[in-house]
Amino acid sequence: MSTSLDIRLKRANKVYHEGEVLAGVVVIICKEAVQHQGISLTMEGIVNLQLSSKSVGVFEAFYNSVKPIQLITSNIEVVKPGKVPGGKTEIPFEFPLHVKGNKVLYETYHGVFVNIQYTLRCDMKRSLLAKDLSKTCEFMVHCQPQKGKVLPGPVDFTITPETLQNVRERSSLPKFLIRGRLNATNCVITQPLTGELVVESSEVPIKSIELQLVRVETCGCAEGYARDATEIQNIQIAEGDVCHGLPIPIYMVFPRLFTCPTLETTNFKVEFEVNVVIVLHDDHLITENFPLKLCRV
């Protein structure tokens, strides 16, 4: 009785680029022949924007969500109304990933206020008595490699009580000297963020050193724009009172889906930053912020 509908993409990692062909099969498994009113496939790429309640009021955030931006859409009928025989039926399909006009396929990105998502939906329409079957599958789009060379742009930094901003009582701060270096702030998204950090001295023992990856999402609309920074992940690189003078590696892999090449469009922006967070044993929190520019090569 039960009929299952599935979409299987050809590529195991489900990653496609603009101009490529999205290929795969629709798999129908049923015990006996199934009558249907046609099977169709819909491919869609959408940017969802949402205003945060922080930037605008709660109700506005609720009602005033910005209209989604459609990047690509395409619909084909795979099978005309009729019958699917019992057993396993595989129907191959292909979608060319071409955009109309001057639109660009942004890279897949799952954020908080900005979501760029590509889906493929298969619908099997059936008679009134049986429910329609539907199956959705997400596929990733990676944007085209950026042209031109990426300059690594290494950054050296030194953190001392004097270099800090936003300090309430500078006098109560313990003395410390932390030197470090990020090998690049122009990062290739497939390569980890690297660098090193040396605790030269610290009056108070260190509790933890962390790398905080932050996304900065900006949504623009008629009423103005909202800019929000939220954490993607926090990676501890040192725990406890580390050996002074010994370089500690900075190493962070950019998570898939939650990061994409830095993106700037007329309606929204997605940017990334990394914070080096040093927690002292007396719970002093020292943060050094570095904006990153991610790209794909």
Binding site: Q117, Q236, A238, E239, G240, C243, L246, I248, V253
Partner: protein, 963 residues
């Protein structure tokens, strides 16, 4: 049946012997003979075979081809694999056994068997680092929701929560298990290990990962620091399980059509497998905390092989550098140990990161003495020396990996680096443990210098010397340095205050001393140990070590005269005051003595000492001692007694036996041995005197007889007594001690009625009948040569024996008595011969005493007739159903006896024989084959001269019909 008249057949034993002998035929060279050397005939026959046979048979005959059985096994013998796997003690996970074996095999291919595997260490660590304090497992599930705001998520929600879940085992729940005892803790961890496997098996991969992350988080917790090494062992077991599961899963994903070969390359891996593998690495890379991220990535290090050729090579240095971020030096060093272990397992050729690990360790070495550590120790009330020893297993392991097959230059460099660090005792200790013993031995003097330079307050020095001693026990330092080394080392060891520390260290150095020095030095060492261990009865807590000292000495000193000439050896033994240990030590001494003493000895030092040792063993026997225990002790003591010989000084030997009898009176087997020894002594005397005793030796052998005579009654086993009486009687007879022999035999006869009807044989109750019959037959054959006592009647002993047999309460329904009667007939027949079958030199048997006197013969015949009468009476009682079979068999034996020993020319006897034959065949219970062969024999006899009566009789014997 009327009384039968008995006449013995006259025998000419010599003639019979001659006629029975086969003719000797010389064997020609070419003739076949089964006892000729096989090689000659084989080569001949093979030659012939090859010429004649087909090709297939020739190939099989010249089979140098591989044995099909051994070729099938081809190194991967499943049994030895299991054995190898089962070596891992205790907590290992049952299901992993086969896998473990396989893993080890792989490792051996690259690493070789001389690399002491981790599995050997883990048991030791678990046993060593224990605690009585309460432990806690904090499976930290307090999900920090704050950092993960989750509004407005769409389809990606699932993915996101999945990632978040990595931090929480059960969402929002926090499980903290407090106040666990060590055993509880171990059980909990094992439970986690199980639930990991279950989760994996039920396809809950995320849950499995969560368990692993939570477990490795426990490794960042250093409360109850004494237990940390054991905790590390337990948790890395889980990590190993996880690593294996992931690897196997991905490996099986690649094997769609055929399994992936063990040496696959990246190209053989399909996209799905690669994607899965990549997913694991991305998941792990997003683990928030440093220590779990490090451990879990190390656990699946091997999976890098699926992704790229150089993956492992790139990952190892990165992970190595990552450890620098761990602030707690103890946690860091164990993380390094784990990384080295995984590295050695997966990519033993990548030496660089091993070295890097070690150098990083040196670089952060000062952390150990940093403030945070000190504060923690004060808080937990742990002493610095104790704390430092916690590092040993990890550093040992790292150094062992680094130094494995490392060139000399590298080792020297490592040592130099260690030297440069201040207060390097901890490192020095590990260097001595882990580096090749030869390397250490060659520089022993340097090491001693370095040990001396170490700070007193830090790592305990006796441990350092212990480690050095351990190396020196395996490899020899240069000859000239040996004595200075020993002197220097002992100077320090003797100053160790705590008796336990002292003995641990001294025990190790005893081996070095025994190996290279003489008894003088060993004696000094023993004296020192005694001096240290005697106050406050410190030896009571050190029995294992003291025992090991003895064991080591015994391995190197096999000459017991040297051993016991050490003045301090026996006083050393006196330290073993707990009975069980004392006996154990005595046992080991005796075992070595029996194994290595080749020549019998009379050395008074050895004898006294060993007598003392044996007495100790003997005295440990009490009412509760197990039978087996007694047996094995007696065996050892007997071994000693057998090795005692005073050469020609027989009297001394006898007095030794007297002393031994007094000493070992509780062990029956020893008593038996002593009686045998004394009997042997008597026969030895006899041999020396060539059979004719002087007055002195005659008195001596009588003394021997007296010894046996008074010893035998103290034995409890009746058959031991009987057999020894008989044996001693025979010996006395051989030595012409007639009255003693008489006494022995009389004693044997007199105790016959005491033989119980059933005796215990190997713990089971068995009827004694068979043993008794055996003994009586043996006894009867001896009686042939025993001359009658002049004051007693004719055949006094034979009659006595038969009377006893008559009166003995035999089992109901037993033919034993009658069987004895039947077997007495041959003796009586033999007694009536003119010259006896055998006799004892210089002892006049009855043949000479009576000289075939007709009265004597008549007496014998009368006796025979009585016996036959008894047998016939018994036969009659067996006329009923169940007795028929026995009747037939008895009748047949009597027939056989008549045939062999009776004079069948006598008509009555002849008739009796025929009747018996018929009786035995009457009811068809006779064994046909036996009757046929007997009949053939009778016919054969009948054909010889003067045997007409036999052939006539043969005609009257009919075989049983086969109806």
């Amino acid at each position: 049946m009327a009384a039968v008249q008995w006449h013995s057949r006259a025998r000419n034993y010599d003639a019979e012997l001659q006629s029975c002998r086969l003719e000797a035929v010389p064997v020609e060279f070419g003739d076949y003979h089964p006892l000729k050397p096989i090689t000659v005939t084989e080569s001949k026959s093979r030659k012939g075979g090859r010429k004649g046979s087909t090709s297939s048979s020739s190939s099989s005959s010249s089979s140098v081809a591989p044995d099909p059985l051994s070729s099938m096994l081809d190194g991967t013998d499943p049994l030895s694999l299991f054995a190898a796997a089962s070596e891992t003690p205790g907590l290992s996970h049952g299901g992993a056994a086969g896998e473990l074996g396989r893993k080890r095999k792989e490792r051996e291919e690259e690493v070789g068997t001389d690399f002491e595997p981790w599995s050997a260490k883990r048991g030791e660590i678990l046993a060593r680092f224990t605690t009585t304090e309460k432990l806690s497992i904090n499976l930290f599930m307090g999900s920090d929701k704050g950092k993960a705001p989750s509004p407005g998520s769409t389809v990606s929600e699932k993915v996101r929560t999945r990632l978040e879940e990595l931090d929480d085992l059960e969402e929002g729940s926090q499980r903290e298990l407090l106040n666990l005892s060590q055993q509880d803790y171990v059980n909990r961890i094992e439970e986690l290990n199980q639930s990991l496997k279950e989760a994996w098996a039920s396809d809950q991969k995320v849950k499995a990962l969560k368990i692993v992350i939570q477990c490795s988080k426990l490794l960042s917790d250093t409360s109850v620091i004494q237990f940390y090494p054991s905790k590390f062992v337990l948790i890395t077991d889980i990590l190993d399980t996880f690593g294996r599961l992931v690897y196997e899963r991905i490996w099986s994903m690649c094997a769609d059509s055929r399994p992936l070969p063990e040496s696959f390359s990246v190209e053989d891996v399909n996209d799905t497998a690669k994607e899965t593998c990549l997913n694991w690495f991305f998941k792990i890379a997003s683990i928030r905390e440093l220590i779990p991220r490090l451990y879990v990535e190390a656990a699946i290090l091997k999976c890098n092989r699926f992704l790229s050729r150089d993956g492992i090579q790139e990952t190892l240095p990165r992970l190595t550098a990552m450890i620098r971020g761990i602030g707690d030096p103890l946690v860091a060093v164990y993380a390094r140990a784990y990384l080295c272990r995984v590295g050695m397992e997966v990519a033993p050729h990548l030496k660089d990161s091993l070295n890097k690990n070690f150098f990083d360790l040196l670089g952060s070495f000062r952390q150990i003495h940093g403030d945070s550590v000190q504060n923690q120790l004060v808080l937990q009330r742990v002493e610095i020396p104790v704390y430092l020893t916690l590092y040993s297993p990890a550093i040992h392991w790292i150094l062992q990996c680094v130094s494995y097959r490392a060139p000399e230059a590298l080792l020297t460099e490592m040592m130099e680096r260690c030297k440069q660090l201040g207060n390097n005792a901890l490192l020095l200790n590990s260097v001595m443990w882990a580096f090749r013993a030869e390397f250490v031995a060659a520089r022993a003097t340097d090491f001693i210098g370095m040990i001396k330079d170490c700070d007193e307050a830090g790592f305990p020095k006796h441990l350092l010397f212990g480690s050095l001693g351990r190396s020196l026990a395996c490899a020899d330092p240069p000859e000239s340095e040996r004595l200075p080394i020993l002197n220097e080392a002992w100077k320090v060891i003797t100053k160790v205050r705590s008796p336990q520390d002292y003995i641990n260290c001294a025990e190790i150095w005893v081996e070095f001393t025994c190996r290279h020095f003489t008894k003088r030095e060993v004696n000094t060492v023993l004296a020192d140990i005694i001096k240290h261990m005697t106050p406050d009865r410190a030896f009571e807590d050190a029995y294992p070590q003291l025992q090991s000292v003895i064991k080591k000495i015994l391995t190197y000193f096999h000459d017991f005269s040297v051993l016991f000439s050490m003045e301090r050896f026996l006083p050393f033994l006196d330290m073993f005051q707990k009975d069980s240990v004392r006996v154990e030590v005595c046992r080991s001494i005796m075992e070595v003595f029996i194994k290595y003493q080749q020549e019998p000895t009379r050395d008074p030092v050895i004898l006294n000492a060993l007598l003392h040792v044996c007495k100790t063993m003997h005295d440990s026997v009490n009412a509760l001692t197990l039978e087996d225990e007694k047996r094995s002790l007696a065996l050892l003591i007997n071994g000693f007694i057998r090795m005692v010989s005073f050469g020609r000084d027989f009297e001394q030997q006898l007095s030794f036996c007297v002393e031994a009898r007094a000493t070992f009176c509780n062990l029956e087997p020893v008593m038996v041995q002593l009686i045998h020894t004394v009997n042997q002594l008597a026969m030895e005397t006899w041999r020396v005197m060539r059979g004719s005793h002087s007055r002195k030796t005659a008195a001596f052998v009588r003394a021997c007889a007296a010894y046996s005579f008074i010893t035998i009654p103290s034995l409890t086993s009746i058959f031991n007594r009987l057999n020894l009486y008989l044996l001693s009687g025979q010996v006395a007879l051989a030595n012409q001690c007639l009255s003693q022999a008489d006494a022995f035999l009389k004693a044997a006869v007199s105790i016959l009625p005491e033989v119980p009807r059933s005796i215990s044989v190997e713990g089971k109750l068995r009827s004694s009948e068979a043993f008794l019959l055996d003994f009586i037959n043996n006894f009867l054959s001896t009686l042939l040569v025993v001359p009658d006592h002049p004051e007693q009647g004719v055949l006094y002993l034979v009659r006595g024996l038969l009377n006893m047999v008559q009166d003995y309460t035999w089992e109901d329904n037993s033919d034993a008595k009658v069987r004895v009667y039947i077997s007495a007939l041959p003796l009586l027949a033999a007694l009536s011969q003119e010259s006896y079958l055998y006799s004892i030199p210089k002892v006049d048997s009855n043949e000479t005493l009576y000289g075939g006197d007709p009265k004597f013969v008549a007496e014998i015949n009368k006796l025979c007739e009585t016996l036959i009468g008894q047998v016939l009476d018994h036969l009659k009682t067996l006329g009923r159903d169940e007795g028929l079979r026995r009747q037939s068999s008895l009748a047949f034996s009597l027939f056989g006896c008549l045939l062999a020993h009776g004079d069948l020319r006598n008509n009555k006897l002849n008739q009796l024989a025929v009747n018996l034959w018929n009786l035995s065949h009457k009811h068809g219970f006779c064994d046909t084959r036996t009757s046929v062969r007997t009949l053939e024999y009778v016919k054969h006899q009948g054909q010889q001269a003067n045997m007409n009566h036999i052939s006539e009789m043969a005609q009257r014997l009919s075989l049983q019909s086969r109806a």
